[in-house]
């Protein structure tokens, strides 16, 4: 939440570097970074919930999956559909799912909330796994990527790795900018108040449930954006994208990067996917060091990566006890 000047400078540098990637590296890295940027969108959407509204959802992958499946299910089988309507349709489906699930889960709080979000995501998993809706455990293929046309010309070819890369980069930056703006608005301040002291917010006259539901729905829609893009990238979806491991991973990304900072969530996504890839090349049992890393992280670095500069400064004695969530 503290988008200070050094942070902003760092972000601009990072985005510039990212923009240069397709010009200097091989296709393998384009694809890897595209995946990472899609995860960054996913993580930022969850950070809105966790870091700014105080809602720890352990079922966020449900909305990622709903949008991914929505794309494949609404797109005609032997023809490419247009992004202009499939993307909104997919995001709308995810938002709708979030709205409905939100109506149930927001009746709970604290530990209950964590558990019921997990349970509902599991329900979504079973819907895709057991019903004929999505091809069951085998999954479904997307044979033709959506097209992006303007005045009859195909301006972006989604099956071209570089085109797709830049599209995702632009979308990631847009999502970041959108969320930053939102968080500066009265609505955003109210969300942060709800995270800080929900009891007082109610006493002050805020209809807290409505704000939480709005946040939950918006987060779901943005998770849907990530899911849509992911389906475009792989051309394939199966119920595993809604598994609770995915929900756990994205939550981990948010914490790893430092919840409540937004750029931390994106950083966490980068760090996590890179870590995963690195470990996977070393051993097939990469989940073991990953699990150990998580345990150590929680024990020793509770503020995540984004807290490292702060801790460093404190170590050097140039900063005293910081204020926590501050809306500026």
């Amino acid at each position: 939440m503290r988008s200070t000047r050094p942070v902003r400078a760092f972000l601009v540098a990072a985005v510039t570097l990212l923009a240069l990637v397709p010009l200097v590296t091989s296709e393998f890295y384009h694809e890897l970074l595209t995946k990472i940027m899609i995860m960054a969108i996913f993580a930022m959407s969850l950070d809105l919930l966790v870091g700014f509204t105080g809602l720890v959802s352990f079922g966020h992958a449900a909305f990622f999956g709903v949008a991914a499946y929505a794309l494949i299910l609404v797109a005609p089988q032997y023809q490419a559909a247009s992004l202009w309507w499939t993307l909104p349709a997919a995001m709308l489906s995810a938002a709708l799912a979030a709205l409905v699930i939100g109506l149930f889960v927001l009746r709970t709080r604290g530990i209950y909330f964590i558990m019921v979000t997990l349970a509902f995501a599991q329900m979504v998993y079973f819907v895709f796994h057991d019903t004929p809706l999505g091809g069951g455990s085998d999954g479904v293929y997307l044979y033709f990527r959506p097209t992006v046309t303007f005045a009859g010309l195909e301006i972006i070819r989604l099956d071209d790795t570089s085109h797709f890369y830049y599209l995702v980069l632009v979308l990631m930056v847009t999502v970041y900018a959108l969320l930053r703006t939102l968080l500066r608005s009265p609505f955003g301040h109210a969300l942060m108040g709800i995270k800080a002291n929900v009891h007082r917010m109610r006493a002050l006259g805020f209809p807290v449930f409505r704000y939480q539901l709005a946040s939950f729905t918006l987060a779901g829609a943005l998770a849907g954006l990530a899911g849509y893009l992911s389906a475009c990238q792989y051309g394939f979806v199966n119920p595993e994208i809604v598994s609770w491991h995915e929900s756990g991973n994205v939550l981990l990304m948010v914490i790893l990067g430092g919840q409540g900072t937004l750029h931390g969530a994106a950083a966490g996504a980068f760090a996590f996917v890179l870590l995963q890839h690195l470990l996977a090349t070393v051993t097939e049992h990469w989940q073991l060091p990953l699990g150990a890393a998580i345990v150590l992280l929680v024990l020793f670095l509770p503020g995540g990566l984004a807290s490292i500069p702060q801790r460093f400064r404190r170590l050097l004695g140039t900063e005293s006890e910081p204020a926590d969530v501050e809306p500026r």
Binding site: S185, F187, N197
Partner: protein, 267 residues
């Protein structure tokens, strides 16, 4: 007190209109009645104090009026309309403001943001998602005014958690003021304050009495007698006696209650 003041202290007040009327409030916790058949009327421009020993049910009463706790029986009317079924946030929007005995602020935010958020509750603008919250003039002005009224203008940019206890109590009040309520339910605003700070708080309360209907729950009897227009004494969840401060002070029953429960009851 001069004889004229003494006379005035015994006089009945000129009539005023009732703003918040509660009848027969009862609240059970398991088998225990925290409040039994409590009625109270808050009138415009009046400060109504509620006193009583520990466990008298004063906090429960405030919770019932603010909507944070549901009544087991009884009715509550705000300006003639029944609000007993309304939730706390709805009651707040209708004009009931409440401060807490145990400071209940946003510790991580600045003092200004605490008040600004409170003021925002009156003009929430939830759909203006592209506008910076700090640009909403009226909201910010209202916050600043509340801070000034509560005497905290100088500390606006401090982090709330860095405030002294007394300053935090001031912030408690400032936040309620920022919501511009008609009814003020104040739960022991003087709790833990030093003599000077308490003096300032009392002046603030006196200045607030016109235009508001105030319910003041307090332990400090001298403070109460200095500012209250009406005093209700509660014991064991029920109303023992009600009247002008001088009447209550002179009442034998009340004295017995305080002697029986121990003088100078402190938390």
């Amino acid at each position: 007190m001069s004889s004229r003041a003494e006379h005035a202290a015994h006089e009945a007040l000129p009539p005023s209109d009732p703003v918040l009327v509660a009848r027969g409030l009862t609240r059970f916790y398991g088998g225990l009645a925290a409040n039994r058949d409590v009625s109270i009327c808050l009138e415009r421009d009046r400060l109504h104090a509620v006193v009583g020993p520990n466990g008298a049910g004063k906090s429960t009463l405030i919770n019932l009026l603010s909507g944070e706790v549901a009544v087991s029986a009884g009715s509550i009317e705000l300006e003639g309309r029944d609000i007993s079924k309304l939730a706390a946030d709805e009651r707040s929007r209708r004009g009931i403001g409440r401060s807490y005995q145990k400071t209940n602020i946003f510790p991580g935010f600045t003092v200004f943001e605490n008040c600004r958020l409170a003021a925002q509750s009156r003009e929430p603008h939830p759909l203006r998602i592209f506008s910076d919250a700090l640009r909403f003039r009226r909201v910010c002005d209202r916050a600043r005014q509340a801070l000034e009224h509560a005497g905290l203008a100088a500390r606006a940019s401090a982090t709330a958690s860095a405030l002294s206890h007394g300053e935090q109590r001031q912030l408690e009040i400032a936040m309620v003021l920022a919501t511009d309520p008609l009814v003020l339910l104040l739960d022991e605003p003087l709790a833990g304050m030093g003599a000077e700070e308490a003096e300032r708080m009392l002046d603030l309360l006196k200045s607030l009495t016109p235009h508001h209907a105030i319910l003041l729950v307090e332990h400090d009897m001298d403070a109460v007698f200095a500012v209250a227009d009406v005093v209700t004494v509660m014991v064991d969840g029920e109303v023992l006696e009600r009247g002008r401060p001088a009447q209550i002070r002179a009442s034998a029953r009340v004295q017995q209650v305080y002697l029986g429960h121990g003088e100078n009851d402190h938390e």
